[in-house]
Symmetry: C2
Subunit: 139 residues, 2 copies
């Protein structure tokens, strides 16, 4: 008799209303136990395979979207034809290095935007994102 304490990932999933299945728990571990990541579905699938987690690519996509819906992840779209998922769900922004196709967080604290018009009637703001696109320093 050893009443195992449920691992943290299992609790996070339950709180989010998602059944803690084998693959969701495994993916949650990869994602949520290493903060500050920006990862594509293919990359996560690769990491899962590398970690000997048997999970299909379709499930990786499903899971990423479910996590996003549950507020565990944030989807970031900066390149045509590819989505990144950000494990940082607090208010923040991004640098995007176009040469390396790499996202970098810009902490949300201390950033102030003034002069924005109010949204058109019938709509309200869901999220405000700043993307600072970077290229190689030409000098």
């Amino acid at each position: 008799m050893k009443p195992e304490a449920p691992p943290k990932a299992v609790l996070r999933l339950r709180e989010a209303g998602l059944r803690p299945t084998r693959q969701r728990v495994a993916l949650a571990r990869l994602l949520l136990e290493n903060g500050g990541r920006h990862i594509t579905a293919e990359q996560l699938h690769g990491e899962a395979r590398a970690a000997a987690i048997r999970v299909s690519l379709a499930t990786v996509y499903n899971t990423l979207h479910q996590f996003t819906g549950a507020g565990l992840l944030r989807e970031v779209v900066v390149e045509p034809g590819r989505s990144y998922f950000d494990t940082n769900t607090t208010e923040h922004h991004h640098f995007f290095d176009e040469a390396k196709s790499e996202l970098l967080d810009i902490g949300g604290d201390g950033i102030v935007i003034s002069g924005l018009p109010r949204p058109p009637s019938g709509t309200e703001v869901r999220r405000l994102e700043i993307i600072v696109r970077l290229g190689p320093d030409r000098h």
Copy 2:
């Protein structure tokens, strides 16, 4: 003898170093003579067909990218799997209505952002974009 003055679109293309071919001139007219548009390749192809311009989808894609490279257009990426091209190349930002999949310009004047960190070394800022994502007003 009637020494036709070259239409404006032809001049714009020449300035940009692009040969004024039949299809480029036609697409330039559709795009540049109606300011403030946000259009996808498929949409532009549709408009061209509607205007009885015979042009292939591949050429529409090529042309949009060439125009973007030449600074006549700006590419805006807000949705996974689809690119918009913006005929407004002045400094400005966007509302994105997620329900209608529609972009709206936010004039760049009077918008001030403070508190941004400087870019990582080896890189420099190519463009700064603000995207304000909108959803239906829930009340």
